[in-house]
């Protein structure tokens, strides 16, 4: 079985953001592997460990600028068997990117594609569904438990995932696309010997041009933090009486408006 796990390099959630000429400028910003992709890599490794030796191959995929090689090296250091880097300097929207991921899933003969449930740079949830549709595969999103049953074909992925109103158990015959989220697993840390070993693992580069893909959504501008906050912060020492009374007044006023609007 082959598992293709997508890794994306995104700005560190706790780092600041800068704008340049109406667009987010990531030059010099601290970049990390998207958290939800860490779960994807970890889950792929766990599925490999649960299967017999040599039965599962884990392939990490990144589509983006040269710097993306860093997250692929991290995925290899964590334990991925090999990596593919589609070098792209143009920013692709999720539907455009899905074409590249689907093409590689096909050419690599993947049985399972893992990607993040929501990308923390785009705030998008579209990638999993778009990849699945291009491949004609089913999709499972917001997965919190995932196992694969059946050593040889047909294999079935089983587990639990979140829905609109709660959660449900699922079973789906592979191939399929599964999206990850926090709670699926706890990612491991790379060990020094594995970091060294990772340098010798295969990291293949491909050019974006060979996929015939272009962005279909244009970003025409960006604004940071448009909402100004009052920032009226009061230290409560000892008796909270006065400051709490003021807050209660504010809340009562808002409640009046909220009720009146209904």
């Amino acid at each position: 079985m082959k598992i293709l796990t997508l890794v994306r390099q995104v700005p560190d959630a706790e780092g600041g953001l800068r704008l340049n000429e109406g667009n987010v400028d990531l030059t010099g910003a601290p970049l990390v592997m998207d958290t939800m992709d860490e779960y994807g890599v970890e889950q792929a490794l766990r599925l490999r460990e649960a299967a017999g030796a040599g039965e599962v191959e884990v392939i990490a995929l990144a589509v983006g600028p040269a710097k993306n090689e860093e997250v692929l090296r991290s995925a290899l250091a964590l334990g991925a068997d090999r990596a593919v880097h589609v070098k792209a300097d143009v920013a692709l929207d999720p539907v455009a990117l899905s074409k590249v991921v689907a093409a590689l899933a096909k050419s690599e003969g993947a049985d399972l594609v893992l990607c993040g449930g929501r990308q923390s740079d785009w705030d998008s949830e579209a990638l999993g569904g778009a990849v699945a549709e291009r491949l004609g595969w089913p999709q499972i999103t917001w997965t919190t438990e995932l196992v694969v049953e059946g050593g040889t074909e047909p294999r079935t992925a089983k587990g639990r995932h979140d829905t609109e109103r709660g959660s449900e158990a699922f079973a789906v015959r592979l191939p399929a696309v599964v999206t990850t989220q926090q709670g699926l697993c706890e990612p491991r840390f790379p060990t020094l010997p594995n970091i060294v070993k990772a340098r010798k693992k295969e990291l293949r580069s491909e050019a974006l041009e060979s996929f015939g893909v272009a962005p279909v959504v244009r970003t025409t501008g960006a604004e940071l933090q448009p909402r100004q906050r009052l920032r009226r912060i009061v230290q409560v020492d000892g008796d909270p009486g006065a400051s709490v009374a003021e807050l209660a007044g504010v809340l009562r006023g808002e409640m009046g408006q909220a009720g009146g609007a209904q």
Binding site: D123, I233, V250
Partner: protein, 316 residues
């Protein structure tokens, strides 16, 4: 045609459907607005939808009794193609955002995802949306014969009813068999006020102290304010509250009139789920907590002292 896909549950249109109609009417121009109702036994939903538009398309068949992304995508794409839709509007709910990319791929259309503003521009549409964990508002645009748009719940005012009721038209959709089987559904309902529709949210974090304190401090406060209850990832992970109440990157995104954050430090992952709230009030003992950077009103103090005092004031 502007095609609005109805979101409905328990035999009624959800509020977000009314919001989609507002978005549709604003960009419709001379194009008719049609509402598509998918499901089985959806008479009451279809009847409710006729109050909002002239044309209601009803695909009622047993195969659509349960939501499945593949089936929904196929049905919506089929109707959009038949009706030569220029725009397909889908609710930016968890399921809407799950199947809308499949619709976009089927129609070879651009997807404008989770938008908070929408207008026509040239031969296409321009929109605004949040990105980078809701820290940035981006302007985006796409030109194509048909564009798929998911709309963030709460971003538009709900549409008012028309004077004359519209017509219903039956549509038949060929459906594939779903390849996913599901079982053991656990519906996590929390308080009587749902997070999605709430005008006031009272949310608690780790700083509340314990599950017992959450029950004795946060729940009465929510009750006193007729508010929905929210929680951080840490609180849900600790098992104090159900997942349905989680606000943040991996939970719900809310933008109520008031968000009252109690014992919440304000990690970016949480802020991304609430930082578009109109008024943010924070109570936390750590003056350096990031939540105060996005707060309109903040009380730096012990949750165990401040909340009971606040409750007493509110009950006066």
């Amino acid at each position: 045609m502007i095609l609005v896909v109805a979101s409905h549950a328990d035999g009624r249109l959800q509020k977000v459907t009314y919001e989609l109609v507002t978005a549709a009417r604003a960009v419709a121009g001379d194009d008719p607005v049609a509402i598509l109702v998918l499901g089985d036994k959806v008479d009451s939903v279809a009847a409710e939808a006729t109050k909002l538009t002239d044309q209601v398309l009803v695909a009622a068949q047993p195969g659509l009794a349960q939501y499945r992304p593949e089936l929904w995508a196929q049905a919506v794409a089929f109707v959009a193609t038949e009706g030569e839709a220029k725009l397909v509007l889908v609710a930016g709910t968890r399921s809407g955002r799950e199947y809308s990319p499949r619709v976009a791929v089927r129609l070879d259309a651009p997807l404008l995802e989770d938008v908070v503003a929408l207008r026509r521009e040239g031969a296409g549409f321009a929109a605004k949306r949040y990105s980078y964990l809701a820290r940035v508002t981006e302007s985006i645009a796409a030109e194509a014969p048909v564009v798929v748009v998911s709309v963030k719940p709460g971003a538009f005012e709900p549409a008012a009813a028309l004077e004359a009721a519209g017509e219903q038209y039956e549509v038949e959709v060929e459906l594939p068999k779903s390849r996913v089987t599901t079982s053991d559904e656990r519906v996590e309902s929390s308080t009587r006020v749902s997070l999605d529709d709430a005008e006031i949210v009272v949310a608690g974090g780790r700083g509340v102290g314990s599950a017992e304190k959450f029950d004795s401090l946060i729940l009465p406060l929510a009750e006193a304010l007729s508010a929905a209850v929210g929680a951080t990832r840490a609180v849900v992970d600790a098992g104090w509250r159900p997942y349905a109440e989680q606000v943040g990157q991996t939970g719900k995104t809310v933008s109520p009139k008031v968000y009252l954050a109690v014992g919440i430090s304000g990690a970016t992952q949480h802020l991304s789920g609430m930082n578009k709230s109109k008024l943010v009030v924070a109570i936390n003992k750590d003056a350096d907590a990031p939540i105060f950077k996005v707060a309109d009103y903040g009380l730096v103090g012990d949750v165990g002292t401040v909340v009971p005092a606040l409750l007493e004031q509110l009950r006066k």
